[in-house]
Subunit: 373 residues, 2 copies
């Protein structure tokens, strides 16, 4: 298959399964991507990620530009070789991070000037600069430089959306590598007319994939669902759709039934470092004293290495003694939970039972309390 072609392999309502061809392998969608911000999925080796059947892994242009520098990564043969991940990779453009981490940012039509969160040094990102950085990093999928604005100021959101559209076109013009797919990003906050306008514009661009940005930034679950439903009809059917930064179990299910193909989120690994295990039925805080003598695994129905091997009581011991192994073991479980969830969603779509699967899943997710009790 041609690189970056997207083949829809099954449909069930708005939900779809597909195969996206990248220079580093096929992405079977829906897919959940672990986040490796600084060229490492925290506390996990690439071998452990492979054992988890992870396919797509994210890294971040902002963080890698600052440390160790995108040119250094290029000198090592690119991000895949640098971090030893042989599968498909995606880099975020830095747009979101410049706004969330960069200090004293000044946005103008041309780009953003900001100070590094590490040492206060001044830097400037433009669409062209972001593409140059992402070309140095060399991921399979790169993202357009966008402005992710706060959702409660319609006037500003509209301005930021227009800028995001201009920047998407400039990214497309700046791009030189044939072995990278640029995805452009729909913005528009929580305003349906802006989201529709943005979807139409982004759909009109000649990119192998599209993304929805600016969600999971404080809006309600209902608002997120409504925005996806507003945007989806405007998106090309034959391109993968990536819902950026979203990845709780219920958000994934809610996204897939509304036609989303790609998800990523720091949640599973960040939660793991905070001693929280993610299950299909909610969260367990493994520091809780209730687990002291608990011989059960995190989830008795889970088949991950952690659940096959360790008790809640042992994991609690690791968390209370601040042992690094706890982050590794809980990350393995949390990522497994989401990777298995998208696998089950793919099966449900292929077998035309996504309605009952998603209904059952969301019902039990809402009904069940965390099995701590």
């Amino acid at each position: 298959m041609k690189p970056f072609s997207y083949e829809i392999t099954a449909r069930d309502g708005t939900a779809r399964c597909g195969a996206f061809y990248t220079p580093h392998g096929i992405l079977n969608t829906p897919v959940f991507a672990p986040v490796g911000t600084r060229a490492t999925v925290k506390a996990l080796t690439p071998a452990q990620l492979k054992d988890l059947d992870a396919t797509l892994v994210l890294a971040n242009a902002y963080h890698l530009y600052l440390r160790p520098g995108d040119e250094l990564v290029a000198a090592f043969g690119g991000i895949h070789k640098f971090m030893a991940w042989e599968g498909p990779m995606l880099t975020d453009s830095g747009g979101f991070q410049v706004f969330s981490h960069g200090d004293q940012r000044k946005v103008d039509e041309d780009g953003v000037t900001f100070r590094s969160h590490i040492d206060g040094s001044e830097h400037r990102f433009t669409p062209e600069r972001s593409i140059a950085i992402q070309e140095n990093l060399g991921a399979d999928i790169i993202m357009a430089f966008d402005e992710c604005s706060v959702p409660d100021d319609r006037r500003y959101v509209e301005k930021a959306m227009q800028r995001t559209h201009n920047w998407a076109q400039r990214c497309l013009d700046a791009k030189t590598r044939e072995d990278q797919a640029l995805f452009a990003i729909v913005q528009g906050g929580i305003y349906p007319d802006l989201r529709k306008e943005s979807a139409d514009f982004i759909a009109s661009l000649d990119t192998p994939g599209v993304a929805i940005g600016g969600l999971s930034v404080g809006e309600s679950k209902e608002e997120m669902a409504a925005m996806i439903e507003t945007v989806e009809p405007g998106l090309p059917v034959d391109k993968p759709r990536y819902l950026m930064g979203v990845g709780s179990p219920e958000d994934i299910v809610n996204g897939v039934i509304r036609g989303i193909d790609i998800f990523d989120c720091v949640l599973p690994t960040r939660m793991a470092r905070n001693h929280a295990a993610l299950t299909r039925l909610g969260q367990l805080n493994l520091r809780n004293a209730v687990f002291r003598e608990d011989k059960r695994p995190i989830d008795t129905e889970c088949s991950c290495y952690t659940c096959r091997t360790f008790s809640r009581g042992y994991l609690r011991h690791l968390t209370t003694t601040k042992e690094m192994l706890s982050a590794t073991l809980i990350s393995i479980h949390n990522l497994h939970t989401l990777i298995e969830l998208v696998r089950d969603l793919r099966s449900a779509i292929q077998e035309n039972r996504i309605d009952s699967f998603s209904k059952d899943f969301l019902d039990s997710y809402q009904k069940h309390r965390p099995p701590e009790l």
Copy 2:
């Protein structure tokens, strides 16, 4: 073979290879044991340890008594099941830790009263208590409760040695489990006559193995070698000899050629957390800026996962960004280095070339500067 029998399989001068039979498998000696103080070898899963061909793993009675409690570990079926290590295990008696970590310790003939380094609570260890704790933990090899005294006060060292002998006998009397081997410990500081006396006494006890304690506590390399040479002739030939807490590459080689069979040390994993890679030719501090663009592995001749997969430049990036993965990857390399070293020492003994092997090794170890230059 009978549990805890020790079969000498090869000899070359004073050096020997042997097989020590434990309920959790055979220890081929010389062996290096990674340290899992609190029931985890820091930053490594048991699966990673197994990939490293680790056999014996240590844990610590003092730390596990305080957290999570030895009775809790017993309720989980013992230390092997608790931490999911299926191979042989050894627990230290807590003797060394009570003296090095415990606050406000008071030693009397019966035992030691001390305060926890965690919360200041008061506790008391006696030989009987240490054995009860170690029986709850359930390692294959358990250690006699001893007093490790500072080497510069001969009068005190002698007193502590006598106490250690009395306590060793009391440990032997207190022991009830048939599936655990108690090793008694030779003390005596840096005083040859005391060391000889201690070796004779410890050799006279009916234990399946013996240990040398109180070395690598500040004395010179020459003093350590002299003490091993003083003690060795007094030790039974047909029991494994464990040199406690010793594990730099040159100390291991120096120990093996003087008849030592078992080593353990926190060095390889502690160094890894401090960004230092251990090689046969010295150390590399991977935070050093000189490694920024270095595409070579830590050691071009090393076959560990880390060296097969990652560059010094990538490891430097992980250390400068304080990523947890650096501790995991450098620990894998450091443990591999020592485990491969004892494997090579076993081959050299089997092939009657321990003299040339050790001479070459120690020569190049002393001659070479770390390959940072």
